[in-house]
């Protein structure tokens, strides 16, 4: 007896598979509908609502939102007190991004090029481990580390390097009474909290640079520095940009770290939090929230124009 050419269907699962095989787009549509609904309606919808709100204004006497199109709210952003908040946040975000990139590169490079087997597992654990604990716990832990009575002060006095610490704290603007109440401390905490988001995309980008590419560069007479500048960096750039989008926008939107660490100077995230909460000024909060989006768009446009995504 010969086996049949067509095996009879064993049940509904077989018939469903056959249906999807005949109409591949059906499966695709089924898979994509829920996330597209989420992204399209909930996410993009609320973004549109936010944008709309930012074009409204608030009646200064009644405190009620006036639903009429106006650019008055955006003009308010340019008031010195608000403008300062924006500049401060942008500078801090840029500094955190650069700090993360510089610190993350050696780690990502090691992981991509040298770590194998067990070392790779240790790398992933080491990078991800801080993400497992609560964000608030980490920030408060850092406050203790950086405080005047904290570990750093203690280590400085134990190693007789207190003058060095004092000299750093005496620096204008970034210094302060103690690390936990200075921009420097805030910078350190930001870098710590966001650095995994820089390491991972950077590592993924570096992993895709074949060893033969680096060998070819050396073979053609390039020094290590030249290879880094002309081959590694351009090829890793998409990963660095991806990481910097994370670190930049996360710092721009954060409203907890500037409250806990630092000199209580206002940041965009804090401003949004206060304006929509206590002040009830939704339009201005929305206008503030649009700022990071606009800055990110400008940043990405510039990066694209500079050829950062050519290697993709």
């Amino acid at each position: 007896m010969t086996a049949p050419a067509i095996i009879p269907a064993r049940g509904p699962a077989d018939r469903l598979t056959a249906l999807f095989w005949r109409r591949p787009r059906l499966l695709l549509a089924l898979l994509l509908t829920p996330p597209l609904l989420w992204l399209g309606l909930v996410y993009l919808g609320s973004l549109a609502a936010l944008l709309l709100q930012s074009f409204y204004s608030i009646d200064e006497f009644s405190g009620r939102v006036v639903p009429e199109f106006t650019l008055k709210t955006y003009a308010e952003l340019l008031r010195p007190s608000n403008y300062d908040v924006i500049i401060r946040t942008v500078l801090m975000s840029a500094a955190v991004t650069i700090g993360c990139a510089i610190l993350a590169f050696p780690i990502a490079y090691f992981a991509a090029r040298y770590a194998r087997g067990r070392w790779k597992a240790i790398f992933y654990l080491g990078v991800m481990l801080p993400l497992w604990s609560s964000y608030l716990v980490k920030v408060y832990a850092w406050k203790l580390i950086l405080a005047k009575e904290g570990i750093i002060t203690w280590v400085a006095s134990a190693t007789h390097t207190t003058p060095v610490l004092d000299a750093i704290l005496a620096l204008p603007i970034i210094g302060g009474n103690s690390l936990s109440t200075s921009y420097l401390g805030m910078f350190a905490v930001f870098v710590y909290v966001w650095i995994p988001y820089m390491i991972l995309p950077m590592q993924a980008a570096l992993e895709r640079v074949p060893t033969s590419m680096l060998e070819a560069s050396a073979d053609l007479g390039a020094t290590r520095a030249q290879t880094f500048r002309t081959v590694i960096l351009p090829l890793a750039l998409p990963g660095i940009i991806a990481g910097s989008i994370f670190t930049f926008s996360l710092t721009m939107g954060d409203y907890i770290i500037p409250q806990i660490v630092g000199n209580s100077a206002n940041f965009i995230g804090m401003a949004v939090y206060q304006l929509q909460g206590t002040a009830g000024n939704i339009p201005l909060a929305a206008a503030f929230a649009v700022v990071p989006i606009v800055i990110m768009l400008i940043y990405l446009t510039l990066a694209k124009r500079a050829g950062a995504f050519d290697a993709l």
Partner: protein
Amino acid sequence: MTSAVEFASVTRHFGSASAPIKAVDGVDLTIAEGAFFAMLGPSGSGKTTCLRLISGFESPSSGVIRIFGEDVSATPPHLRNVNTVFQDYALFPHMNVRDNVAYGLMVKGMSRSARYARAEEMLSLVKLSSYGDRKPGQLSGGQRQRVALARALVNEPRVLLLDEPLGALDLKLREAMQDELKALQKRLRITFVFVTHDQHEALSMADSLAVFNDGRIAQIGTPEQIYAAPRTRFVADFVGSSNVVPPAMTAALGGPVQWSSLRPEATSLAATGPVTGTITALRYQGSSTRAVLRCGETDIAALIPTGQPIPEIGSTRAFTFAPGALHVMAGE
């Protein structure tokens, strides 16, 4: 005449000191200036490691490597006047073809206009004149290889290393490229050293070659020497799918009690002879049919020119060979 590359009992071990993997094991080798030299061997035989020892991507565990008489043990790759065409070509994907070719000149600090002029010259040498603005991703495999070749040659290296240069190309392109590489080498008079696992490629392109086995050189010589007079069973078997004849059969065929080799094209089927066997396989090859004769434990291949009668599988035949075709091997 100075030798272009010289290996003096070079060894390269990988892994732990207690149980090292001997990728290259005591190799002595001299490559003459201007030679088209092939390193032939199966994968894992140490030929690629030898190439990487010349380029500097590997350092010898012991022994000395000299390039044009100079000991290069302490010289990093970027200071060696040697260039490589990589197996995967390793073109820089973010640069166009012109910048790829001009890369070696760029890192040496040559001005943009000068290096672009040289790059154009090189591109016309490899017949890709109008491709300067393209990205490597827009080229075919054969074109990419030419770019890799131009990129290496633009530096005017003393020795050009090619790692399986034709491995990724299809048959037709491969044959065209063989002729082209040969002509290019004649014209430029640069020493070419290439690694391959394809015996036909090695025999047809090289003017001398080394056959590698297990990290050692099994035989060095011209293609004719290696093909006609293999020194060991391994060489006879690996180069040109020769019949390897065991000592007893060699004696039966009128030779000494030693291993010998017999080329299939020098072997023909006959009705009678000192050794008989059963036909077990027939493979049509166009100009001839390759018949396999099972004689006891040994397979003997013979070529039957097209037009002559083909025996049936399972029939019994003897074989004869041209006088002097039986080559007695000195080594094991």
